[in-house]
Amino acid sequence: MTLRIPRRGLAQALALIVILMVDRAVSPQFFNLHLQDGRLFGSVIDVLNRGTPVALLSLGMVLVIATGGIDLSVGAVMAIAGATAASLADTQPLPVVIAAALGVGLACGLWNGILVAVLRIQPIVATLILMVAGRGIAQLITEGRIVTFTSPDLVWIGNGAVLGLPMPIVIATGMLLVTAAVVRGTALGLLIEATGGNARASELSGVGTRAMILSVYVWCGLCASLAGVIAAADIMGADANNAGLWLELDAILAVVIGGTSLFGGRFSLVLAVAGALIIQAMNTGILLSGYPPELNLLVKAVVVLAVLLAQSPRLGDLSRFTARWRRTKP
């Protein structure tokens, strides 16, 4: 008889630890930390700091995926928000800049939400529209250039620090808490999970499934725009051509590594963020390793498969199966 141990999160925690250990092995100073200009400095901080855009994206993405949807446009929304923020940064006060960027993100999310919830277009194509057009809109704002700014306020969002922690980390943590409060502090989380688990049954139970779907895309747009602002603040400029490029795939990957099914239903915010950190820990490790860049994708493929296989419920079955097989063998 087996005891039921809480398995949720175990696989992710193990994967993260193993990857950090491998990082340590390829780069002995991996865990070194020191203070530089009032800011903590070290590879671990890099993992957290560089992981923030994907972590933020995955916070929104995990909700969308929980309803059984998907949002391919997050990378493009990042670019639009970054472009908006950068082009306003030197003329407007920070609150206006942030509000404008986040407002644009909300609008993008609303657009996606309407296509999916009201026009009932399949999420992957519905958001593909904004994925394609959105980057165009961002480039339209910047006219294809990298729009730079000097506003120290906005720069501080990207490069400042609170208690030694870089601002992006602080913001992402804050956003995780806010999202958790919104989702778990109200009934939203349950209703989203119900909608994703069985939309028809939920609707027949009186759940406003359309409103649920609409709201998750809006939230996803918001998270993406925040990520866009941070990315722009980080390089003190909006690179509409490249900001957030292909990050939608990383965000989806993070969510799945975090154990949320692409078919919708149960989700975990913390594990989605953990997924983002796993990906970033791997990326940073690759950069530290000194292997030629031609190998990057191969390493990524192998690690992703390994992490997923470790989580597969079938692996347990298989080991039990082989154990039984051995036992029954004469």
Binding site: D37, R50, G144, N242, T284, N296
Partner: protein, 298 residues
């Protein structure tokens, strides 16, 4: 009669590319040429489609900024059959297609790498110097060539050594991220003597990373990169960058001149119109260059 020229542009992956597009437009307007630009979004198949549709529309000439060197023979043959002259901009194609185009207005990206390398060799002198390299997108021909040219110079100077080389995908953000890791991996950056970046955007990101790590780019760490976009001149003026190799965005100007002469007088231009790969350093009045380049659409 007014000429119509179809221009198959690669995309808008960088500020340099945007500048090339906008300079091409203004050069065409100057010469009263009707320029049709088809943006291929970085895809060769889109460029081929665009060329086919230019042929179908019966344009007078086609400009092509090829995203890769190979694979143009078939479509260029079609253009030739339709008697539409083709001019290559910015990059060359494989030798097999030599007689399929009229002329190529390009810079030599291997040479750009060499210029960068030679500047570094000269500046360092005989001192030992560990170089870190920020490569462009893996597989992009420009990245391959700029690496090739630079490596050739390094090989000739025993004191120079590339200790780390990673891709920064030609972007600022990745340039910064990769540089951060280089700094950690190279003893807080103390053992890095110079940074070579395949384009200026990555260098701008790398400079930020160095500053945040408490290093002094331009002084503690030498920098050399390629493209000569306005922002790098700002950095050079501020003493945070040392050198850049220019890749002029004005490829369309000479190309248009060649086409107009060819159409009007039947003069065949030379097979290769090479643009200059000029090196800029702090000695070249960077602030002034910055001001002159600012409005070009970078």
């Amino acid at each position: 009669a007014e000429l119509t020229v179809g221009f198959s542009q690669i995309g808008s992956e960088s500020g340099w590319r945007a500048a090339e597009t906008s300079v091409s437009k203004s050069e065409a307007a100057k010469r009263k040429v009707n320029l049709k630009i088809a943006d291929a979004q970085q895809k060769q198949e889109n460029q081929i489609k665009a060329i086919r549709s230019f042929i179908a529309q019966g344009v007078d000439a086609i400009f092509l900024a090829p995203v890769v060197a190979s694979g143009w023979d078939a479509v260029l043959k079609e253009a030739k059959e339709a008697k539409i002259p083709v001019v290559l901009l910015d990059r060359d194609i494989d030798p097999s297609g030599k007689d399929l185009y009229l002329t190529a207005v390009t810079s030599d990206s291997v040479h750009e790498g060499e210029v960068a390398g030679e500047w570094l060799a000269k500046t360092v002198g005989g001192k030992a110097c560990n170089v870190v390299e920020l490569q462009g997108t893996v597989g992009a021909s420009v990245a391959t060539n700029r690496k090739k040219g630079f490596d050739a110079v390094i090989a000739k100077n025993a004191n120079l050594k590339v200790v780390r080389s990673q891709t920064g995908d030609f972007t600022r953000a990745k340039g910064k991220e990769v540089m951060e890791s280089f700094i950690k991996a190279e003893n807080g950056g103390k053992s890095i003597c110079a940074v070579y970046a395949h384009n200026d955007d990555m260098m701008v990101g790398a400079i930020q990373a160095m500053k945040e790590a408490g290093l002094k780019p331009g002084k503690d760490v030498l920098t050399v990169s390629i493209d000569a976009v306005p922002d790098i001149f700002k950095a050079i003026a501020a003493g945070e960058a040392n050198a850049t190799v220019e890749l002029t965005p004005n490829m369309a100007g000479p190309a248009l001149d060649a086409i107009i002469a060819y159409k009007d007088k039947g003069t065949t231009p030379p097979k290769w119109i090479q643009t200059e790969s000029k090196l800029y350093t702090a000695a070249d009045e960077p602030q002034k260059v910055y001001d002159s380049k600012k409005g070009l659409g970078y």
